[in-house]
């Protein structure tokens, strides 16, 4: 039984009990109800928490006479017409009150009924005098507040300080002194780039006597390409970025183009309103660029379930809910997913409004686009230009080409046999768990689980006489990898065998296998051994090749369509001619078997080689062959010349020229150009559908329980949709980034604040709604939000403003008195002191050791990790982890490949989220597993070794100089005498133990048997494990 029917049953039961109890006790209601004695205490106890002075859910107050006796909530004398009575008694369709609490008992309900029926006497003076309903501050667009007056005007560097200082003065607290320059530069570098300053950078800043020395550092760091990495990572958390699908299969996906888009967008300071718009609707912008389409990957970071037993629509809906949640948390700073199942309990979002927002998003294909690096795109442009020039050359040399083409057209226009599309039944068991979804045009779209070897069986009943041939069309679909027509990660497919059987309808067991006389196809490629990704652990030589391979009875050969990167994703067709017509006197059952055996060994990985979308047809015309004209060209041919665009005319020419023998040499040249086409990569994106998908309000969020249909729209309690906004994702983006949006700017500046100071101005940064923690500095939040919007939504401007404030520049030293008064430093009487995020824990060690590979962007990488994690039974299925042996081993933590189901342990131990859902506030824990990681993890050891080597090579000649050098590479500042003495003692003792052979130096150094180097390695290891090394101070 489903959850919903369960709920229904329990309702019925409760209802039954209630009805009986009510009937019994109703008579016992007090003869004369007194409001103050009987009713008010009941309202206070059960209702006023949500409908009172503090909160006015649904704009209702039950503590004020004016609000209750308004002619609707309570109709004096008529309880059954009063909403108060209806809702507590559970009458009607709306949820029963008190929402989320225990229903009132029968006596209490009887009491309320009696009071209303007796005239609802509410004595004047009882309850609240005011019935005012306040709008929650975060649902009103921010206005720029005036700066507060402060005593210590000299401390104020910019408006932020005025707000901070005003609060400190109110609390009787003093701001702290400015941090010293080295501390400040390390803090600034970690905050803006996530990398520590080198000792040289620190010295340069210390020695810079110019007045704007600090501001120069701010600009240097904001212009660093690492700025985009550092702040991009925060957005990746909010966008639930990961490199795999999640759920059981958790296959790899290619989405790093989107990750790099984020980094680049931040580095070029793409205004935040634009940043959001392109991610929500980049594909809908006029003349959308590849970059803008890639940006929609934000919405595609949802998980994908390809378990065998799934209904793809169910998990598309799960992904839609996830997108709503991500938009809520990352962009709106609001919890909207509560309203997925019911009206929001606290915030003004009705369930219907949730589905109205949902409807903006619900009209997209889950597409996977081909994408190219800038160099590749340049190459492509060059190829296309050359081809155009060569074609123009032929046309120029052939003045009558138009007439000749028209003659050819006349010849081919009607040369195709009459095909009848068939719509077969699918044998569910034969599909190996793959779903074949029937489409409107009679084709089938493969979805869900993708078994790498299966023989799918399709059956039709037909009365068609004398069937001579069968046609298989492979078609594109936006939901397939690179639009298909196959389901492999390249959008290709291989057809191992194509078999047909038939039997009389009245004697289904009398099966005849059709013998194929021949097969033709519009693509016949030379024989080629399967790529590595299709390796099936057998020793067989498995190949693809021409269409004959699909009827040769050999399971090792298949018809292949991979014609190289430029043309592997075209629709294709094949025609199979029976050796004699199937006469079919009294109706037959025709069964097609599509054997797809050319995938790899692991169906839980990206190894399938299946058909993606295809259609079957039959004909009774003799001698049918596969149409050599590509589907797009056939469509142009069928159009009148006057209806064709110049582009279509050119496309027609591009095909026709290939059929003209005298142009063979130019055709060969063009063919050679196509072969230079770059491979490219792919990216999950959204692609708007032509036909609007209907959106329904789902009962309790269950996709099997659609309620009424809804149209796109925005919640009534928030600002209206801007005039002229289209009713699609672009319109939603315009609404979210409107100047009147109350939460978009606030939530973003609040999260910036959180990143700098540890806690946001509103601590619950994922939720600025009614249930949020009250802001520590409400005016400051509004000031920052308005500043953000009025300065062109420039994120760099906001960073600059925050880091140049006096509040940011304070020392982070804490006194016991201050700790007691303000343990979490919400008031900012001192600077922030926080352990850095997991990625940066590693980045600091990489930078200190000199191993860091500072390359920005590119595919995710595989630093060392324990192998067993990626094998069963630790992981559901075997996963790929090709440990990097080259420079990519030492890339920043941000580029580490992220499997959702098997998080990278070092990052997991340091609280990095795994991308299952949007995260705008990480935990910052402090655990023994973290200590074990920095002490013993292999890469940390490599980093300690490298730091030791570098120290010996570059740190000077004395121990003293070297200790200072190594210490400063980690913490920027020089050590105190006491610290240096402690390290010196450790160095001497351990070097001695290695020299005496008590420990093997070569083990620790991983190379030389050198006691000194081993001693320095031990010292470097201590430095990398210090609290200060992994802390922004």
């Amino acid at each position: 039984m489903t959850k919903n029917s369960r709920a229904l049953v329990s309702c019925v039961v409760v209802g039954g009990v209630f009805a009986a109890g009510y009937a019994l006790r109703a008579q016992n209601a007090p003869a004369k109800v007194d409001f103050v004695r009987d009713v008010q205490p009941l309202l206070e106890k059960s209702c006023v928490n949500c409908h009172g002075a503090k909160m006015q859910m649904g704009n209702l107050r039950l503590d004020a006479k004016a609000s209750v006796l308004n002619g609707k909530v309570v109709v004096p004398g008529k309880a059954v017409e009063s909403t108060l009575y209806q809702r507590v008694a559970g009458i009607g369709e709306q949820a029963r009150m008190p929402m989320g609490g225990k229903p009132l008992d029968a006596a209490q309900i009887a009491l309320l009924k009696a009071w209303i029926d007796q005239g609802a006497v509410w004595p004047d003076g009882a309850g609240s005098a005011t019935a005012e309903v306040k709008k929650h501050w975060a649902f009103v667009a921010p206005k720029r507040p005036a700066l507060p007056a402060v005593q210590q005007k000299a401390w104020v560097r910019n408006p932020i300080d005025a707000f901070v200082l005003a609060r400190l003065e109110k609390e009787g607290l003093q701001p702290s002194a400015e941090a010293d320059r080295i501390t400040l530069l390390r803090r600034l570098s970690l905050d803006l780039t996530g990398l520590p300053p080198t000792p040289d950078e620190a010295d340069a800043f210390v020695n810079d006597k110019s007045k704007d020395a600090y501001e120069k550092q701010v600009e240097r760091l904001l212009n660093s390409p690492h700025y985009g990495e550092r702040w991009g990572r925060h957005w990746l958390d909010a966008a639930r970025y990961a490199d795999s699908d999640g759920f059981e299969k958790d296959k790899q996906r290619v989405v790093w183009f989107w990750r790099d888009w984020v980094i680049n967008a931040l580095n070029r300071d793409l205004p935040y309103d634009r940043f959001l718009t392109e991610q929500l609707a980049g594909d809908l912008l006029p003349n959308a660029t590849q970059e803008q389409i890639v940006a929609t990957g934000f919405l595609r970071n949802s998980m994908i379930n390809e378990e065998g037993g799934i209904d793809p629509e169910q998990f598309r809906m799960e992904a839609m809910f996830d997108r709503m949640d991500a938009i809520g948390k990352a962009m709106m700073g609001m919890t909207i997913q509560c309203s997925q199942c019911h009206n929001h309990k606290y915030d003004p979002i009705q369930q219907e409004e949730y589905y109205k927002l949902f409807a903006f998003l619900n009209n997209s294909h889950e597409a996977n686009a081909a994408v190219y690096t800038p160099e590749e795109n340049q190459k492509r442009a060059e190829i296309f230009r050359n081809i155009r020039e060569l074609e123009a050359g032929i046309q120029h040399r052939t003045p009558d080409w138009k007439e000749r083409m028209a003659q050819w057209e006349a010849k081919v226009r009607n040369d195709q046999p009459q095909w009848t599309v068939v719509r077969p039944d699918i044998d569910d068991i034969s599909t190996g768990g793959q779903k074949y979804l029937p489409q409107a045009d009679g084709s089938l779209l493969a979805a869900g689980y993708a078994p790498t070897k299966h023989r799918a069986k399709f059956t039709i009943k037909t009365d068609q006489k004398n069937i001579t041939a069968f046609r298989l069309e492979l078609m594109n679909d936006p939901n397939l990898p690179l639009s298909g027509p196959g389901r492999s990660i390249l959008g290709t497919a291989a057809l191992t065998e194509f078999d047909v059987e038939y039997s009389p309808v009245d004697d289904p067991k009398k099966i005849t296998k059709v013998k194929m006389a021949r097969a033709t196809a519009d693509v016949n490629l030379p024989e080629r051994e399967l790529d590595k990704i299709y390796f099936d652990k057998s020793k067989n030589r498995r190949v693809t090749g021409p269409i004959a391979y699909a009827i040769d009875g050999n399971d090792l050969t298949a018809w292949g369509i991979d014609a190289g990167p430029a043309r592997r994703n075209l629709p294709r067709k094949a025609v199979f001619v029976a050796d004699r017509p199937i006469e079919n006197a009294g109706g037959i059952l025709l069964t097609f078997y599509l054997k797809q055996n050319h995938g790899g060994w692991n169906s839980d990985d990206n190894m399938n080689h299946n058909l993606g979308r295809f259609r079957l047809s039959v004909t009774s015309t003799p001698e049918a062959v596969a149409d050599p004209l590509p589907a797009a060209v056939r469509e142009i041919v069928s159009k009148a010349t006057s209806e064709r665009s110049p582009g279509q005319e050119q496309a027609l020419f591009s095909y026709w020229r290939t059929t003209v023998p005298e142009w063979v040499s130019v055709n060969d040249d063009i063919e050679a150009l196509w072969k230079q086409h770059p491979e490219g990569a792919s990216q999950l994106v959204l692609h708007e559908r032509n036909e609007m998908r209907s959106t329904y309000q789902l009962t309790r969020g269950d996709f099997l329980k659609p309620g009424k249909q809804v149209q796109p729209g925005v919640p009534a309690a928030l600002h209206p949709l801007p005039k002229g906004a289209p009713m699609n994702r672009l319109g939603l983006a315009m609404w979210l980034t409107d100047r009147n949006s109350p939460t978009t700017a606030r939530s973003m500046v609040n999260r910036m604040w959180q990143a700098y100071f540890g806690t946001g101005i509103v601590a619950t940064s994922e939720d600025l709604g009614r249930q949020c923690e009250p802001p520590s500095h409400p005016e400051l939040l509004d000031w920052l939000a308005v500043e953000f919007m009025e300065r062109g939504w420039s994120m760099k401007h906001m960073h600059r403003t925050i880091v140049t404030s006096g509040a940011y520049r304070q020392t982070s030293k804490a006194t016991p008195a201050l700790l007691e008064k303000d343990p979490y430093n919400r008031l900012l009487a001192r600077g922030p002191r926080l352990r850095v995020e997991g990625e940066i824990v590693r980045d600091i060690a990489l930078a200190a050791s000199g191993l860091l590979n500072a390359k920005v962007g590119g595919p995710s990488v595989y630093p060392p990790a324990p192998d067993f994690l990626f094998q069963p039974p630790a992981s559901y299925g075997p996963k790929q982890w090709h440990e990097e042996k080259g420079a990519d081993r030492y890339r920043r933590g941000l580029y580490t490949f992220r499997y959702r189901s098997v998080p990278y342990p070092m990052l997991q131990n340091f609280d990095a989220p795994n991308g299952d859902f949007a995260c705008v506030r990480r935990t910052r824990s402090n655990t023994p597993l973290q200590a074990l990681t920095t002490l013993n993890e292999p890469l940390f050891l490599e980093m300690a070794r490298a730091l030791a080597k570098k120290t010996m090579a570059e740190g000077g000649s004395t121990d003293r100089d070297r200790i200072v050098y190594a210490f400063r590479r980690c913490m920027a500042r020089p050590p105190s005498d006491a610290e240096r003495t402690e390290l010196q003692a450790l160095l001497e003792l351990q070097t001695q133990r290695f020299a005496q052979g008590k420990l093997k130096a070569a083990d620790l150094t991983g190379s030389e048997d050198n006691a000194q180097l081993a001693g320095w390695t031990a010292l470097a290891r201590v430095l990398l494990n210090l609290d200060e090394t992994i802390t922004k101070e």
């Binding site: 999640g246 759920f247 619950t764 067993f868 299925g877 402090n926």
Partner: protein, 460 residues
Amino acid sequence: MKPNLTARRWFLKECGIGAGALAAHTLLGATVNPLAPRKPHHTPKAKNVIFLFMAGAPSHLEMFDNKPQLAKFDGTLPPADLLKGYRAAFINPNSKLLGPKFKFAKYGQCGAELSELLPHTSKIVDDITIVKSMVTDAFNHAPGQLLMNTGTQQFGRPSFGAWVTYGLGSESQDLPAFVVFSSGKKGPSGGSSCWGSGFLPTMYQGVQFRGSGDPVLYLSNPPGVDTELQRDSLDSIRKLNEMRLGAMGDPEIETRINSFEMAFRMQSSAPELMDLSKESQATLDLYGAVPGKPSFANNCLLARRLVERGVRFVQLYHEAWDQHGNLVKDITTNCKDTDQACAALVMDLKQRGLLKDTLVVWGGEFGRTPMVQGGSDGRDHHPNAFTMWLAGGGTKPGLTLGESDELGFNVVKDKVHVHDLHATLLHLLGFDHLKLTYRFQGRDFRLTDVHGNLVPKLLA
């Protein structure tokens, strides 16, 4: 001026391991340890949990739920009204019924019925509570496992173990509070989210242990580092951190010092835990455990050792019970791999006096269809009826609760939904499931979401 180190040291020492700045209260400027042991709402019956998660979904029809009528109707189609609104994962629901593959008999004083696949479990029937009336909402593995673990099919919620750790804290000074093992042919379908902390602070998530090698990742010293060098290094780290603490006054540094000390302790306590050679041959034989050879049996024995050492929540995953085909052969193997050790665990806990406050839970994410999948040797996923068993921790021994219909398709008596099970297990651990909440995104979340009713019949 230095913060009051002595007082804080006392606090950290007395109140368990140090971790995190996330706690809601502070004491003398120090953060309260979020893993400190805490009292639940009422006096608990159970202190610890061992959850034997049979991932992939075992067939109730082959193991626990004897259905002579299903045998009788083998090969016929199920009644049409039974299938109304029913969704199956792989098969057309209108597939032929498949009779049970194994013989059943009654065991123990309680007369509980079990199949011949469970000769060892048959010896403990008087100590366990069999629930034949489990139902769930999910019929795919990852969502089903998530529901059983987190109370919802969606990702992002805390697991049962995380809730319990959040609610009760840790009794162990040098081992994680929530430990997870995995054995069998595959890993769990829900991945690490099955033991994740969701929106709870990350220190409440389960820590994956391994049955061989380092039980915890990065437990061993790197090459060339012996215990003395490790100790010397930690002493230097502590002294340098203390110097910084003196300079900066940040209590988080004190927590860091403590984390490193616990890490060091874990370096000796975890290998000691894993060393099964200290167990008597009789005990090893009872479980069928072989030291050094990772198995579900070893993991069961380790679970007992963990509970002895104060670990709050132990979860053992064993995949894969997903018998769409090869039912007879594969379920026989699964039972051979698990039956003896499960029974041994209950017996061993009992004889050591640990069963009374250790709650043992056995079960998978859903059941299997009475209808056949494929030829004649497989069953599809089935959420409407399945069987679990409980032992110890205040459950009612010798009880068999609930009934499914004569085909084992729907529950007809004493239905226990996953949410009800959670409510009941939390009750045994001392919690009112309505009150064990965590505020996130403006809402008080609970393990049972907006569902769940205590099942009093399950209580001793």
